[in-house]
Symmetry: C2
């Protein structure tokens, strides 16, 4: 098994050349962030990921979290690692300074989150959920609640959870049944929640649950759901965790992967809870934290792909087998010399780099949307972020899953043996297309709320940016950039065509468009990734002209070309599939399946 090394050189390239660090550091509140600070943070985060989190990953998979009557026990070593993480100040890196956060840009936080997830996805889920909860509390809770909970959550001394799902209410949250009954200033929450990530554990003194439930007079459906804060321990007058609340973990799931992350069934029985935001607006409030979480789950796709790639690359250099086609002599070579092993590695590398570029550029837009002094600019950035959320989440998790599967394949038989590690990434990755909204939910969000709702205008703005890159490519020299342009141009046309098709058909035949939504999502991701790779190729060419690190930048250029030649042609197939529509889909009766 290889060990994880944070790909700092690649991350810096994306942060500086593609995501636009300059524009982010120019934002109010980011004045002290410079390239040097960024490098220093990445170096330190990389050390923690490699030396503390990564070594626990395989053991966490083997041993898992453990349920006991008294509560869930985190996997061996996780508690110590968590406290190193907290004490290093990593939890609140991109959190508001008002509540003990460091207020650094989301762009930088995104890079560190990639590291945590690549090193140990099960571990990283815990702070990820905490950040989502912080986001919702910070947006919607009254000051007293913020003051009581946020400092301890931002620091990481307490962790947070999202309690949405119930047995009958998965993707369909309208079916939520948990109840909240007023009790003085507070409420009493009763119900059962399932699939609660890090819903209970022994790493921290308190766990802060955000819970969807219905008030007694609530209307049915999604318009009758409210959001409550339910602490594991109710605080005393000094704000210290004191009274055990009526929320208990009754079991944890036996899952395909992320064994180090306890997935809890939580029973709420008359648990003390506090309303967050407006009564009956809970679902909308929850979506605030879900959007944040969706970007981070998309990033998990990047992270697990990077980890699988590192493992496969290591094995391909280490494993000697056969002679390469160009050297049929007696000496055997590392398998990285074989064309198909290279095809697999480059497919992993190209897609990982495309996903990273997309996730980081979106994170930079989050910073602009939050901090830019000009409201029009904030609104423009937010529109881009909203458009990108389902793409980053849906496409990067599907692609990350594919990359981990290729990672096994590079190893041959050794990939199927658990000790190698490749199989764990494949198992861990498989949840990412499901939680925080399945790929279908992302696809419906993209075609419905993101394309049809604004009649394609956010997408048109994105397409205009892509066409600007195509124009740059047209003026640029060299065979590689020409090949990239040849791959990208028809793919951008395909995305434009499918956008028009969605806008034209969504109102008249929503089933037609929903049936095509997955194809539209995958097409959008494929093309957005190709666009970012083209931008990377242009940036790399500039560096090559300047004589800057030729080996690194030549690899960037060729990897972009590989993406254009091997991945972008899929856009045409996805367009054809999308436009075939849903008639064939809907024609069969259930019993004809």
């Amino acid at each position: 098994m290889s060990s994880y090394t944070a790909p700092i050189r690649d991350m810096s390239f994306v942060i500086n050349e593609l995501a636009g660090l300059d524009a982010v550091t120019a934002l109010p509140g980011c004045e002290e962030v410079g390239a040097e600070l960024v490098e220093a943070v990445l170096e330190e985060a990389g050390k923690l990921a490699a030396s503390v989190l990564d070594p626990l990953n395989h053991a966490g998979d083997r041993n898992g979290a453990r349920w006991t009557e008294a509560g869930v026990i985190a996997a061996p070593g996780f508690k110590d690692a968590y406290w190193q993480f907290v004490e290093g100040g990593w939890n609140g890196l991109a959190c508001p300074v008002d509540y003990e956060g460091q207020g650094l840009p989301e762009l930088l936080g995104t890079a560190t989150h990639e590291m945590w997830n690549a090193a140990n996805m099960s571990f990283a889920l815990c702070p990820m959920l905490t950040l989502g909860a912080i986001e919702a509390i910070n947006h919607y809770a009254v000051d007293a609640l913020k003051d009581a909970y946020l400092p301890n959550m931002v620091s990481g001394r307490w962790t947070g959870t999202m309690n949405l799902t119930e047995p009958q209410a998965g993707s369909d949250l309208a079916a939520v049944r948990s109840k909240a009954v007023p009790d003085g200033d507070a409420y009493r929450i009763t119900g059962q929640k399932i699939f609660i990530t890090w819903g209970d554990h022994d790493m921290t003194e308190n766990v802060v649950h955000l819970v969807l439930a219905r008030l007694p007079d609530a209307p049915p459906g999604v318009k009758g759901i409210s959001l409550f804060l339910v602490p594991k321990f109710v605080l005393d007058a000094d704000g210290a965790p004191a009274t055990r609340n009526g929320v208990h973990c009754v079991s944890i799931e036996h899952k395909l992967g992320i064994h180090g992350s306890p997935t809890c069934v939580l029973a709420f029985e008359d648990a003390v809870g506090y309303l967050v935001g407006t009564a009956n607006k809970g679902l909308a409030h929850m979506f605030t934290m879900m959007n944040e979480a969706r970007l981070k789950v998309g990033l998990q796709g990047v992270a697990i792909a990077e980890r699988a790639y590192q493992q496969a690359r290591w094995y391909a250099n280490d494993r000697v087998q056969g002679r390469t086609v160009r050297d049929r002599g007696e000496a055997r070579s590392p398998i990285i010399g074989h064309p198909d092993v290279r095809r697999m590695l480059l497919t992993m590398k190209a897609q990982t780099e495309a996903m990273r570029a997309l996730a980081y550029t979106t994170a930079a837009q989050v910073d602009i949307a939050r901090r830019h002094p000009d409201e029009a600019e904030r609104r423009r950035a937010q529109a881009r972020v909203d458009l990108m959320i389902p793409i980053v989440k849906g496409w990067s998790t599907e692609t990350g899953q594919d990359v981990t599967s290729i990672g096994i394949q590079v190893h041959g038989g050794m990939g199927y043996v658990e000790e190698t590690g490749a199989a764990q990434y494949f198992r861990d990755a498989r949840i990412t297309t499901i939680y925080e909204g399945t790929t279908a939910i992302q696809a419906n969000d993209l075609v419905g709320r993101k394309l049809a709702h604004d009649r394609g205008s956010a997408m048109q703005a994105l397409l205009a940016d892509m066409r600007a890159t195509l124009a740059e490519l047209a003026d640029a020299p060299g065979d590689d950039l020409a090949a990239i342009r040849a791959g990208l141009a028809p793919a951008v046309d395909a995305l434009a065509e499918v956008t028009d098709w969605v806008v034209a058909n969504h109102e008249t035949d929503p089933a037609e468009v929903l049936g095509a939504a997955y194809n539209v999502l995958m097409l959008a991701g494929c093309v957005c990734g190709g666009w970012q790779m083209a931008r990377a190729a242009l940036a790399a060419t500039r560096k090559l002209v300047a004589g800057d690190d030729p080996a690194f930048h030549e690899a960037k250029l060729l990897t972009a070309r590989f993406y254009a030649e091997q991945i972008l042609p899929r856009a045409g197939a996805l367009l054809t599939g999308a436009k075939a529509g849903a008639r064939t889909l809907m024609a069969l009766a259930p019993e004809q399946f």
Copy 2:
């Protein structure tokens, strides 16, 4: 968790309408096989698969086979099930009558093997390996060995294994180091073999290993490898297992899946063995059994896809969640009403049916190649079989893996929980693209030995058959067949184009072609599958005209249309990828990855 039901109606459709049962039953030795016998065999096999093998599958996964000092203990219940299998006469169904086999067509054997693998892939591996060993012994061993071993192996009273891999010799068998030293009429074998499926167990009295090893005077490389039969127990004068031989299982692997199938490290120490076939020709002999095994592994792709599909279909009908887009009322519906769930189910169904049709039609060609009285016809059929082996193996296992992943996705969060069963199929399937030659090995076989070697003539014959189907479609009525033709025609052109490209470039630039091999393989599979679906659509249309079972045949027609609309467009992308060639692949130095 759903239970397995053998899809006998689908299997009969393929056997009768696509694979050509009539032509098979007209073959010498098959005179007594008629449609009724076929139905009766399928019914009985389906019962065994559903009532005996399927109920052990999940427990076999959970408990697995167990290593002990004294030998491997099969998973609970497997031994009893195995003896029901043996006593039913299932092992020798398609084996030679000379050795207690029933001499039934491979076409029928293929259908039963799909059932064993769908119900319990770990279990089915044991008879699969035995059949491969029977094939090699029957082809190459002297009569005394055949008489001593085949009756007990054909009946299943003893099982067989294939011992190829060593730690340094995986895909590269030239690196085999195990030694064989002459000892009277026999040999003494010493060495270590890894990844030996069902290499040891307690289900039968004897295990018959076929082992690759080198004689003392053997030339280096692949031309110095011989094949030996090494029994776990050496037979006494009466032919009964008597003396424990020097072959022991020193450990079993901890794998991602197929936990019920022990994957053994075998230590051979001075083990008594018998030469099978000609000295130094062992690799060629082994390929005889490997070709047989490759078709059966391809069939595992079909089987595990069918099983995953049945599970997903069951869940999609059972799980109530949300309201469908066409019925926005208050009542919630089973998720099979949602367009994207239908897209997933139809992707599973269409690809499973395409794979099945391809595997079964190839099996019918195996029967013709073995039994047809006309040598030219035998040779024609064998050329088709040789061409199809890498496609059935490579494409069906890659596709089967994809189908099991979609199977998880249909379940949402429940798919990630091991109790549901979907995750097991996903884990079990993952080995199929690796063993019996990885997908890359299949792809190299296709472009090198199968396309370039005969300058594309076997593929040209296949393309001519496809064009005949296109002509039939052109004359056929209806919107569905027109849509199928519109999808198939450019895909067939793409396959023709890539064939010419391989033939033209293989000699001058083998690296270029090897770099494209995976794309060529997947293109060939995608188009062959589409062709079979088009044939199915034509057959279904004939049945619909005759008023025969409209619901069933309408589903066949629409599923074929779905394949043409959603799967066949990939052919264009794969062609573009293939023709992009290997230059980009080979340009990076290992340290640039």
